[in-house]
């Protein structure tokens, strides 16, 4: 067993860390306060190669292994969840489905601009009345004379309404299967298509500098050729996309926990009460010991899941476990982090306040913690007769 990263992965981590500290950190708090998506930072992250990390270089990607990509997300999240979210959602949910299920023609048409960071792409699954219960979605697409006619709406779609968004992979009902179930397909819809409206959502508690959108489809006409893969494959494509996407959310939990922990350890050694550094009170020291231990465990679980994926082994259950565990580790870490900061932990000038807020999304997005437990317990055979 070898736990060491390759020298490229070490250099990658160092580079992303320096980039995050140098470019993102000075702006993160202000962008968060103003709820502003940063085109400048997104462009820079594109130039760094973060936006097409695992995609084949022949489509403009970097051809990284999955673990390397996860290290990028982890290091960004160590500094700012919003920028990490832009990158993770674009790679996992934007580029991923087109790269894995798209036709050669679709890949050639869309991927180069998406990998270079010229454009972003979103993934529209969640609807106002269908989140965890994705099968209950209502958006429809009907084929009429070589075109899909799409009607319905989506909500909470990351990267869905920025000025650089090129389009969205939309999940829609395209008929009824032989078993009577809804037939679901994914269709690529370009942003400027008539009848398609994307509206930024505001007043979020989390990821305030990430672009989140509501999408409306009013008789949107899209060429029949924009179907992703085969008709009726949408549900399977969505599940596969989320399996990989969960690793990205897990990386955000790990990176966020690491960032909050480092800030807290430093603070606890500097802050004095009763004439001593507060780190020397065992009540605080034990909290810090627990945080360090759980972060280590989280990292090992997540990296193993990535390793399994890179080895082309079955990683679905491990991905759900990593997503569940890393986001809950961050929950416990930020809770301790704010507690150890005392009153200052509740002030936005201290980074732990933002980590505390940003954490909550990780237990909800890309499958809630409950949904992860369903996936894991199902794999354990708990529900089979």
């Amino acid at each position: 067993m070898d736990y060491s990263l390759t020298s490229e992965q070490e250099l990658l981590r160092k580079t992303v860390r320096e980039f995050a500290q140098g470019e993102i950190k000075p702006k993160a708090l202000e962008l968060d306060r103003k709820e502003e998506f940063s085109y400048e930072l997104t462009k820079k992250m594109g130039q760094m190669g973060f936006l097409g990390a695992v995609c084949d270089p022949k489509y403009g990607g970097q051809g990284l292994d999955y673990l390397s990509y996860i290290i990028i997300v982890e290091e960004l999240a160590r500094v700012d969840a919003s920028q990490a979210a832009t990158v993770a959602a674009h790679n996992s949910l934007g580029v991923g489905p087109i790269y894995h299920f798209g036709s050669e023609e679709q890949k050639k048409k869309y991927l180069p601009d998406l990998c270079s960071g010229k454009k972003l792409w979103s993934f529209g699954l969640t609807e106002p009345e269908a989140g965890s219960d994705a099968g209950n979605s209502k958006t429809t697409a009907t084929l009429k004379d070589d075109h899909w006619i799409i009607n319905g709406s989506k909500i909470f779609i990351t990267n869905g309404a920025s000025k650089m968004t090129g389009g969205c992979t939309v999940q829609a009902i395209t008929g009824k299967g032989q078993d009577g179930h809804k037939e679901i397909s994914c269709i690529l819809v370009e942003q400027n298509t008539s009848g398609f409206t994307a509206k930024e959502m505001h007043n979020k508690l989390v990821w305030r500098a990430s672009n989140t959108a509501e999408l409306y489809f009013d008789n949107v006409k899209t060429p029949a050729g924009n179907l992703l893969g085969k008709k009726g494959d949408g549900f399977r494509q969505m599940l596969a996309t989320l399996d990989s996407g969960r690793l990205g959310i897990a990386a955000m939990g790990l990176g966020g926990a690491q960032g909050a922990f480092e800030a807290t350890l430093k603070y606890a050694k500097e802050r004095k009460a009763f004439g001593k550094p507060i780190a020397s009170f065992q009540a605080n020291a034990f909290k810090l010991a627990d945080c360090a231990t759980e972060i280590e465990a989280a990292r090992n679980l997540l990296y193993k899941a990535c390793w399994m994926k890179d080895q082309k082994k079955e990683f679905k259950t491990l991905a759900a476990q990593a997503k569940l565990y890393c986001s809950e580790v961050m929950y416990r870490v930020v809770n301790h982090a704010v507690q150890i900061h005392g009153g200052y932990g509740l002030m936005e000038e201290f980074p732990v306040a933002k980590f505390y807020r940003d954490q909550k999304l990780l237990e909800i997005g890309e499958g809630t913690s409950e949904v992860q437990r369903i996936v894991i317990s199902r794999a354990l055979g708990c529900y089979s007769e």
């Binding site: 020298s7 490229e8 250099l11 580079t15 980039f19 760094m48 190669g49 973060f50 970097q62 990284l64």
Partner: protein, 258 residues
């Protein structure tokens, strides 16, 4: 345009330096190693010079042990083309012997410009680049904050800050050795494509022992110690006139600064 960058791996300036228990040197166990801060500026300037000309090669030349390859790769990931590692395993070099081995390697490559940092942040000796220039009989300017290649590419114009904000401008014929200060350009980040490409870029290895030709260090390290801990400050209390008189007395007699 063929440019060399003399690159040294040094401890991160934020690393807390510890001395070995027998005071024979620095304890390296917990040290984070980085590209010497000023050498990183030299890499950036080298890449910019190459980009301005449009063709050429940037070669990273490092005297150090195998560990230094990691820093060389970082420079390759920033965009340098190849590396030459002069392996110093088992040897203790001083500024003189370091200059000797570098001066053996550089002429074979026929470099137009050799860039270095203005000093290494570990030993702060500020001698190696000057030593190389002396041994090769090349012009050397230290420190510089701006470089511009002349139209005929036969010389460079360099700006050297002098104390008091004055700047000296030199025109220097090639080949030359230039020592970079923190200049006007921040070193670039290695990009992902850069990191991916770096692993396939060649690093040639030479043995320092083969290049020394009997030369030995002129410096012997006798003992290492850390600077003394800073003394606690003194607060003077009392009436303003009394305090002033006391302060002047202390500055003159104890601190000896006035």
């Amino acid at each position: 345009m063929k440019i060399a960058v003399l690159l040294k791996q040094t401890p991160d300036t934020e690393t807390k330096i510890k001395i070995k228990s027998d005071a024979s040197g620095v304890d390296e166990t917990d040290i984070k190693w980085i590209i010497n801060t000023y050498d990183e500026y030299a890499v950036e300037e080298a890449l910019r010079l190459k980009e301005a000309v449009g063709t050429g090669e940037v070669v990273i030349v490092t005297a150090g042990i195998k560990r230094a390859v990691e820093s060389m790769r970082q420079a390759l990931a920033m965009g340098a083309d190849r590396g030459i590692l002069i392996d110093t395993e088992g040897l203790t070099l001083d500024s003189y012997t370091a200059a000797v081995i570098l001066a053996k390697v550089l002429p074979n490559e026929k470099f137009d410009i050799v860039l270095a940092g203005k000093q290494a942040v570990d030993d702060d000796c500020v001698q190696v680049a000057h030593g190389v220039a002396t041994l090769l009989d090349w012009p050397c300017v230290w420190p510089i904050e701006h470089i511009e290649l002349s139209g005929d590419k036969k010389s460079v114009m360099v700006v050297r800050p002098v104390s008091g904000g004055t700047k000296e401008v030199f025109e220097v014929g090639l080949p030359t050795i230039l020592c970079c200060d923190k200049g006007e350009h921040d070193p670039r980040y290695a990009s992902l494509p850069g990191i991916m490409k770096a692993k396939t870029k060649p690093i040639q290895e030479l043995k320092a022992a083969d290049l020394l030709a009997g030369e030995t260090p002129k410096v012997k390290w006798v003992n290492f110690s850390l600077p003394p801990d800073r003394q606690a400050g003194k607060i003077l209390k009392g009436e303003p006139e009394q305090v002033c008189a006391e302060l002047v007395k202390l500055l003159r007699e104890e601190a000896k600064v006035i």
